[in-house]
Symmetry: C2
Subunit: 212 residues, 2 copies
């Protein structure tokens, strides 16, 4: 059939996806596939059977990451009493999901004509935009702060630090730094100087920053 995967096969596929997410996050989109297999505890042959080439694996990781991000944003929006709280909650979630670290590195290795991918992207960005708009409306989020700022800051924070910190320490540091950053995003926190004009919209981000 192809419809029903054998139980072990399905389990392995998920392990591959998780390992790929980690490894791509750490080493970029051209990380060795053999390391992904190794980290998933599987042979390289298994990886290639499930994902016939790098492109396919990349695509699967991106789709998965976008879906998780969309869910996290929607949940944050729904379960937070105030919009700024939703923003904070979403950004923290995005760090743990490792969404942001994967997306950008992979975005330009992936076929943007692919309708499924476009749809996933749109479904992920919509609730983010909603959160940011709401926070602006609420006048809790500094008005100069754009979608691009939020997105790129997540990218920065999600990127692993160089050197070898214990894994959990790295994670805690990212959340800590995010908390400090969030304090600066609030209306009223004291800015040293004005922010200039580098704030990028969602559209800017989709147009700029593509490698090809």
């Amino acid at each position: 059939m192809g419809r029903t995967l054998r139980a072990d096969a399905r389990r392995n596929q998920e392990q591959l996806l998780a390992a790929a997410r980690d490894v791509f996050t750490e080493r970029g989109a051209d990380a060795p596939l053999e390391e992904i297999a190794r980290r998933a505890g599987l042979g390289i042959g298994t990886l290639y059977r499930r994902f016939p080439n790098r492109q396919a694996l990349l695509r699967a990781v991106v789709l998965d990451a976008l879906a998780r991000s969309a869910a996290a944003a929607a949940a944050a929006l729904e379960e937070s009493p105030d919009a700024f709280g939703a923003l904070a909650r979403y950004m923290h979630a995005a760090l743990d999901i490792k969404v942001a670290a994967v997306i950008p590195a992979l975005m330009d290795q992936v076929d943007l004509e692919d309708p499924e991918l476009r749809a996933a992207r749109d479904q992920a960005t919509a609730p983010m935009v909603a959160i940011i708009d709401a926070a602006h409306a609420e006048e809790s989020l500094r008005p100069e702060v754009t979608f691009g700022d939020v997105g790129l800051m997540i990218v920065r924070l999600a990127h692993p630090l160089p050197g070898s910190f214990p894994a959990d320490l790295g994670r805690r540091l990212a959340h800590r730094h995010l908390d400090l950053l969030l304090a600066g995003l609030r209306v009223g926190s004291p800015l040293e100087s004005d922010l200039g004009d580098a704030g990028l919209t969602l559209e800017d981000l989709q147009v700029l920053g593509r490698t090809r």
Copy 2:
């Protein structure tokens, strides 16, 4: 002799150093040396004559970066009326110098027994510590914020964003995000939740984070 380098040779050496700083920043300590030579507009042979191996080049880049950082920190401390201003000024300078992006990736590829290197490191960290201490004393810098926080945040901000942004835009974004972050570092800016215990001291940083 050995003392006097021919004029063109000296010029080329500096171009190599600058190119190395850029390339190591972008691609890490194992970046291809041939790209460094190419970007310096020189042949690979020239690079190898000046720096007999990767280690030597790395060492030169790190020494240079540490010296620049030390100078920037000292200048910031001296020329700013208040300590928080000095902190802000130093951090912005560190971004442009690309110090922070190079140091950590290189630190663990480099021989820490080398006394010249230890000295350079100490001379670079001392004025940073002075700035941070002064800002704490002034009660303008949030007391929980440590040396490790400042250092690692510079690392985060100095790291190039994925995708291809125009070079200058990337730079402006980093400074923009630093400004927002600085607002969050000020005493009094509204924190979402407490920061936990992941603040690293200078000593922590020197012990942890080394790969070998």
